[in-house]
């Protein structure tokens, strides 16, 4: 087990390095001149040259990459020239708000998807199974923004029940202070996530139901309820670890589109704005962060799975 964890950690580090390398290289292919973008059209050639010199933009790309990596290891994600703030401080104010959106949606999606998925597996090919399958297929097949826009259409435009814009507060607590504005973004993201989770739960519970220990439990005369609670549900919960691990990056990336629709002040929206204004270190910082979080999420899922399921031996 320890060997497995160490090996996975090693792989994770290699993959993280790969992610930084590719993102860095891609961003350096972007057209445009950073000095020109930052100093504006009226900067003199001397000023441009000085900026280029100071920021090491004229050095070979591998040196620049190395410097970037060095800063990254010190937790420095770069500097936003648009806002004159470090990317760290930008993210420090945005990530808590993303956590509210992503975290709440994750919790709601799990709370709905676990019972629904298990119930679908137990009553396979029943009415509930078909209905839920239909609903999740439908949600799965809609562009994310369409789900959000339909909610807006019905709940904000047709019936003025809920606001169509997220609260524009500067802190996570401030967001929570306006729950009405959070309902639609959280609901949209929950629906998107639920579609994937319930399918996953269903097939995992069907697998579990076919296992020998379920048959044994039934054969020894356990009541159906005990079989479900003690054997099926508990074992299906191992799947939840995978789901949570895999959706950690969703807390940041999956929200990009939802953030755009509801004007939710988070990292995804920040990213879109950064691309429009060529705020290149912000783009680099956020992409690398998402990449690292994805790798971490997979790591957590794999290790959690190995710890929770004693049948898995590596």
């Amino acid at each position: 087990m320890t060997g497995y964890i160490i090996r996975r950690l090693g792989e994770a580090i290699i993959v993280t390095l790969g992610v930084t390398m590719i993102t860095f290289a891609l961003l350096h292919l972007l057209p445009g001149n950073l000095a020109h973008d930052v100093l504006g059209p009226r900067a003199s050639p001397q000023e441009l040259a000085q900026f280029t010199q100071q920021n090491g933009l004229n050095r070979p790309i591998y040196v620049q990459y190395w410097l970037f990596l060095e800063k990254l290891l010190h937790g420095n994600l770069g500097y936003s020239y648009q806002y004159n703030r470090s990317v760290d401080s930008l993210l420090a104010s945005e990530l808590p708000r993303d956590l509210v959106l992503g975290g709440l949606s994750l919790i709601f999606a799990l709370l709905i998807a676990i019972p629904v998925g298990v119930a679908q597996a137990v009553r396979r090919n029943g009415v509930l199974d078909y209905t839920s399958t239909g609903v999740s297929f439908l949600l799965y097949s809609m562009p994310q923004y369409a789900i959000a826009l339909l909610l807006i259409q019905f709940l904000s435009i047709s019936f003025h029940v809920l606001p169509a814009e997220a609260p524009q507060s500067s802190s996570a607590l401030g967001m929570l202070a306006h729950p009405a504005g959070l309902v639609l973004p959280v609901a949209s993201l929950t629906l998107v996530t639920f579609a994937q989770f319930s399918r996953y739960m269903r097939s995992s519970a069907i697998d579990t139901l076919a296992q020998d220990y379920i048959r044994t439990a039934r054969a020894k005369g356990l009541s159906e309820r005990l079989v479900l609670w003690r054997h099926l549900l508990r074992n299906s919960l191992v799947t939840v670890v995978t789901l949570v691990g895999l959706s950690i990056p969703l807390v940041i990336t999956g929200t990009l589109i939802i953030e755009q629709v509801f004007n939710f002040p988070g990292a995804g929206l920040e990213y879109l704005q950064a691309t429009l204004s060529n705020d290149y270190e912000v783009m680099l910082g956020i992409t690398v962060l998402v990449g690292v979080v994805t790798v971490l999420g997979n790591l957590v899922a794999d290790i959690g799975y190995a710890i929770l399921d004693p049948r898995i031996r590596y």
Binding site: E11, I14, V15, T16, G18, V19, I22, T23, L26, L27, L29, L30, P31, R124, N125, F137, L138, Y140, S141, M142, P143, Q144, Y145, A146, L149, I152, Q153, I157, R199, Y200, I206, D207, L209, A210, Q211, D212, R215, R218, P249, T253, L256, I257, Q260, Y271, L272, T275, M283, I286, T287, V290, G291, V292, T294, V295, N298, R311, I312
Partner: protein, 318 residues
């Protein structure tokens, strides 16, 4: 990893259903699975054909394809020159589904958009799966260090957020149909690569593969003649799901403003364009494209799901 009854999935279903309730004919494996000894394709085809959702999916795909490619013959419209005298017309009169903000006929535009959406979807699904297939088969077959390196590359690809990648790229170059297909392929081949690699790991230990090796068969021959054909189930399932995903991703990119220019109509483009007029009540600009996207993607997903059952393959990625 998972303990399974010999003979795998086909036997699980009745054991589970038969335990508790009277034998349900629909849940039992199709009789052919036990009797059929000859042609495995016949079994697959029969299982597939018995799945009502799959048949619905096939029907929808056929209808949508005919609609997009043959439809313009019966309903010719001008989708190149905006007609500013006829903007935002509600359905009725000369325009069955009304017109959009440029005066384009929505019905005709749905057909045009269908062409590009289906072309992108099919091209991406097929090319990405082929690349992933070869990559995964090589990685799994050689194993060891080769596998380690190749799979880390796939991991890196997985960790780079797709939407972010597209936004980079759209800044570099003006998107065209070919470029968009190439980009979607660049992010889509990872899934089949992982799946095929997993399957190859178990296939390469089979006797027939070892027999060829002992007889001195070349690696490439083994991969192409003995491994790749045995992953056909996974391949067909993946292609179907990839088509669905590509159509969806295209729609999302279009919404973010990083897709094809308006001169190439797509369903996603129509939908995102229509949603800007949501508040004005121009519903005919929103619901027709949304409906056709959803029903096409659902159809491909139904087909993929049924193929998965028919070939009895397990896709953990889904």
């Amino acid at each position: 990893m998972r303990s399974s009854i010999p003979g795998s999935g086909t036997e699980n279903a009745p054991a589970e259903a038969g335990d508790r309730k009277p034998v349900d004919v629909d849940v039992l494996p199709e009789g052919g699975e036990v009797a059929a000894t000859g042609n495995p394709w016949a079994v697959v085809a029969r299982t597939f054909a018995q799945n009502r959702l799959a048949m619905f999916g096939v029907g929808v795909v056929v209808v949508v394809t005919l609609f997009s490619f043959i439809g313009p013959l019966f309903h010719p419209t001008d989708q190149l020159n905006p007609n500013l005298l006829e903007v935002h017309l509600p359905p009725g009169g000369g325009h069955l589904l009304g017109t959009d903000s440029q005066g384009f006929d929505i019905l005709g535009r749905l057909m045009e958009g269908g062409k590009s959406s289906i072309e992108v979807g099919l091209a991406v699904g097929i090319i990405a799966t082929l690349i992933g297939l070869i990559y995964g088969a090589v990685s799994g077959f050689f194993g060891g260090a080769v596998d380690g390196v190749l799979m880390r590359v796939v991991d890196v690809g997985y960790a780079i957020p797709v939407v972010f990648l597209f936004i980079f790229m759209s800044q570099l170059v003006t998107p065209s149909l070919t470029l968009l297909i190439a980009l979607l392929v660049a992010v889509s081949w990872l899934i089949p690569a992982r799946l095929v690699r997993g399957e190859t790991l178990s296939l390469r230990t089979r006797e027939y593969v070892q027999a060829v090796q002992v007889m001195g068969g070349r690696s490439w021959r083994i991969i192409l003649r003995h491994i790749v054909p045995n992953t056909i189930g996974t391949i067909m399932v993946t292609v179907t799901f990839q088509v669905a995903n590509a159509i969806l991703t295209l729609a999302v990119l279009q919404y973010l403003g990083f897709g094809l220019p308006p001169s190439t109509p797509t369903w996603g483009g129509m939908l995102s364009e229509g949603t800007t007029y949501l508040q004005d009540g121009y519903w005919w600009q929103v619901y027709p494209p949304l409906f056709i996207i959803v029903i096409t993607v659902v159809a491909f997903n139904f087909i993929g799901d049924a193929l998965q059952d028919a070939f009895d393959v397990r896709l953990q990625e889904r």
